[in-house]
Structure formats: C-alpha cells, structure tokens
Amino acid sequence: MEQNHLVEKLSLQSESFQEGFELLTKSNSFEELTKNFRHILRGNFITTNIHLFHKPTKDSAWNRIKSDGNASDSDSVILDKNHSLTVRYFEGEKYNASVVLPLSDNSYLGILFGGKLDKSSFNDFDKITLQILLQVFSSAHKSFIDQKNEKKLIFELNEKILQLNNLIDTGIELSRYENQNILFELALGRIVMLTNASSALITISDINSGPTEKQITFPQNISPENILSSLYKIESSFEFNYKNYRFVLSEKETRKGATSFNDLDEMLLQAVSRQVNASLENEYLLSQSLQKERIEKELALAASIQQKIIPIVLPKISGYELAGINIPSREVGGDYYDCFDLGKGKFALIMADVAGKGISAALLVSTLNAALNSYLEFNLPLSELTDKLNKLIYKASPPDKYITFLIAVLNSESGETEIVNAGHNPALLLRKDGTIEQIDAGGIGLGMLDLGIPYSAQSLSINSGDKLFLYTDGIPEAMNSAEEEYSETRMIDFFKDNSEQPVNEFIRLIVNDVKSFTKEAEQSDDITSMILKRD
C-alpha cells in the first residue's frame, strides 16, 4: 500500500523532473547550470541549506560554488569520504546528506544537504527523488558539455575556413600594393590574424653590410627588441635583390595566455612570407619592364632625330661620283657622315665616330651636326674649324666621351683637297696607278682635351681616276663568332680589287663582304663608309 503511494507521488513528480531537465539544458554556463540545479533541489527538498562544490579532476581540490548559507570551504572534506555516485545520509549532524556525482567531462559535482525546513530527515521518497534529480543533472550536464564542444568545433571549423580565406585574400591583396611600407604593414596585420600572434616584426637588412635598414612592427608601438626577446616566437626569411627580409611572430594567444606556435602557424608564416617575396619580385620586374619601355621609347625618339641628321641623299658633284652608307649596330648609333655643299664648287666630306653608342652618342652627333652647319658657313681654315669643334665638344661632353672626326674639303673643279683627321681612321686615297695613300694628318679626337694643341691639315690633289675612301672602325674591326677581325688589310685589298665598280655598287659590295665575314655574329659596331671617285 505504501509502495503504491510512493509510485503515485513519483508519477505526479515526473512532469516536474521533465521541466527541471528543460530548465537545466537552457543554461549557458556551468555557473548557471549549477545555480538552476540548486533551485530545483531547494524546491524538491524544502531546504535553503544546499551547497555545491566542483572539482575539475579526481585528484584536484573541491571548489565551493558560490551559494547562500553557512557552509565553509572546509566542509568539502565530508565529500572526500564519499565514493563516486554515492549518497551518504547522516542523522544529527550539520548536514543530512552528501553526494559526489561524476560528470561526463571527468569532473565531479559535490553536494551537501543541510537540514530541511520542517526538520524532517530524508525519507524514501526524498532518496528516490534525489537519485532521479542526480540523473537529470548528469544528463543536462552532458548535454551542456556536448553543446559546448559542438560550439567549439564549429568555432574551430570556421577558424580554419577563415584562415584559408584570409590566406587567399592576403595573396591577392599583397600583389596589389606598390608602396612597400603598406605592403609590409598589410602582411603583418594578416599574419597576426592568421596565427593569433600577439605581435609581429619585419626586419630588412643589406645582405653584405648587415646592419638593419628598416624595422616595422605590429602593433606599431611595440619595440622590435620586445618581440625578438619573446619566449615564444617563430620566424621566416627570404633574400631578394641583395636584401634580407626577416619575419618574426611573437606569442601565440589563447584565452589562458601566451603559448608556443604550432606547425600550421609556421606554414602560414612561410606562406605569407613567400607572398611578400613574390609581390616584391613582381614590383621589381614591373619597374624594370617600365624602365625598359621608357628607354626603348627614348631610343626610338633619338633614332628618329638621328635619321634626320644622317643624309638620305648626298649632293651631286659634277665630275665625281659619291656614295655613302650608315648601318647602326643598335637602334641609335654613334657614327656620322655627311657631305655639305659649300658653294662655288666646294664640298665638305665628313666622317665621324662617337666613343660609345646610344642616346648620349646620338646627342653628341647631333651637337656636331649643328656645329658643322653653323661653322662651315664662315669658310674658316680647316685647322681652326676643327679646333672650334674640339672646344665645343669638350665642353658639351662628359670626360669619357669624344669624337673621332675627319673632314675633307674638296674643290671639285681643281681636285685640290684639304683634310684634317682628328683621331679618326686614316682616309684612303687610291691613285689611278693603284698606289694607296693613307691620310692621318690632324690631331687628337674632338672633346678629348682642350690644351690648345693646333690641328694640322694635309693638302692633296684628287685627280681623274682617283678614289677617296672614308670609313669608321666598324668595317676593319667587324668581328666574326671566332672573334677574328675583318681587318684593315682585307678592307684595303677589297678597296683595291673593287674600286672600278660604280660607287653605289662598291658600297653595297663592301657591306656584303663584311657581313659574309661576320656571318651570324651580331654586328658589334656601326658600319659607315663614304667613297668619292673622280671621273
């Protein structure tokens, strides 16, 4: 009869057990869970004197969970005498019962029950109710831990997705920056996000000289020394363009404090470091490409200017044949030739070679051309003219630049010719009888020195059947792939053997002969020549 009554009472209570479980499972923290459980116990056992304790592991000490009442921390010794999952009941002592409940996370909940408000002791119904409530708490706690673990798992999974996403975004964003400081600041910000580092540093130093050129930290107000002296740190470095880039991360953060970095952190740091390296390389290659493009544009411009200086058509000289050619080895060469009609049957034949090639050489050629156009009008003696040119080029050119120059002024009626050779290859005069004269009277190259040393001129007569051949060193010094020179001897022999050819044909043939000698070897110097033949 009494047992039937007990069952009936428990049946009536079942709904409240269910409600208790629902209340417990809504708890957001362990503190809230135990607080709610205390309320449930108080309601069921009509007592305010219930104290809860918790210990994280079997061997750790009990921690009293904050509660009202008169329990002291030392009361937890009562719990030490309990076996797991046992309830001990007492008569006439401070507490009526003690419980130690093992929990699903291997921690323990301890409960001390003080006297009930009606002073009664625990009856059978209370004891069964307590067992059921302990099961309810145990299940609710397991559910709480499962939810907590689930949240942690979701957080960790999201964190991994975030890391992957950040790594991809970082690669894209780093490639966009041209300003290196912004690039490094972005890289530092991204790597601390990826690894939970508390701070980061980039040190840039010269590979050869060693001393640090630049240090950038994140956050900005942290000293590099603090980061470098950190207990927990990892680093990665690379060398590019004679500089060493060293990345250091300090102190991986957790909610419980700093810890050491793991393998994944090292991989992430290396990945960001590589992305910075690639970005610097791309920036460098882009700047090189832009510079090359700029130089090519300048060369094209200089070439177009020079094309206007080199004569397209040489003047017709009555009683003579005249032909010339200029084949630059690069886009803009340093050779120059021309023939000026000075009036009254006089003509000035010019052959010049600037030391060096490219824009600077083209500028000097341009200066020489402008000066000749100006000075030749004054009909100056050739030695004086050359001296003026020397002074001008000396002032207009850097110390390593000069011009070898040859001028021959022809009186076409008489054939009388005056020649000044300023450091240039000798002019070759082939007489009708086959003898060769080399004309090298003159002085030093234009612009080499300005010491007032006078230039000497040589006078000669070009007679019927004579041929005057002017050239630059691009012909005798043309080199084949075996590094053998075409040579002055071969050139003179060719001149002799082919001098009866019409002048345009002679020019074409000598160029072909040089090219057949050099074959596939790249043209190493400008090829320029001019030939004058008296009928």
């Binding site: 957001n28 957080f155 999201n158 996403n165 996000m193 956050p219 953060e253």
Partner: protein
C-alpha cells in the same frame, strides 16, 4: 607587452556605445567584455570598429561571449563602421547570425 588597444564608451539610455582603437586580440577582447560588464542593465551594445582593422580569433571569442550574454537577456549587439576584411571575418565566423551590423553608430542608434 603593450597591445596598443584603447576604447571609449558612451551610454545612451540602455544602449552602450563602445568605440575601439587597435588590435582586437585577447587583451583587446577582454577590455571590451569588462567595459560591457560594467553596465549590467544595457540591452543593446553598439561596437564601433572604425579604428580597428585587425582582429584575431581569440578577440572574436570574447565578442561571441558578449553576444551570448546579450542574447540571454534578449539584448542585441550591433557592429558599425566595419572594415571589409573584418566584416568578412565576422561573416565567416558566424557572428552575424546573432549580431547585427550597421554602417554608422547613428544608424545603429535608430
């Protein structure tokens, strides 16, 4: 070690506005939580992150803690002035399932 993190806060009735500056990491996140816990009766927290461009996952875990506490009392957290990188980070971490975002503090206060 200094983390260069600072915050200022203003209370508008039951709405707390916190403006942060610097790296939201463990220390930064703790400062936000402590500032929030000083005002037990607020039901809306507006977090202006205009001057915070970097946040790590430890900082985010503190923000989640604040969101959960607000949700228990039917309160709400609203992020404002988000840097695109941080907005994407919060989105991936699922923060906008339980918190709102607004362009400015003014629009969040409405």
């Amino acid at each position: 070690m200094s983390t260069e993190f600072n915050l200022i806060s203003e209370l508008h009735d039951k709405t707390l506005v916190i403006k942060t500056e610097g790296y939201i990491n463990n220390a930064g996140g703790e400062k936000i939580v402590r500032e929030f816990e000083k005002h037990s009766d607020v039901n809306k927290l507006i977090l202006n992150l205009e001057n915070s461009k970097v946040v790590n996952s430890i900082g985010i875990s503190h923000l989640i803690e604040v969101i959960e506490k607000l949700n228990q009392t039917n309160g709400k957290l609203v992020f404002t002035n988000l840097d695109p990188t941080i907005e994407k980070t919060f989105s991936i971490m699922g923060l906008f399932q339980f918190a709102d975002k607004a362009d400015t503090v003014e629009s969040a206060l409405k």
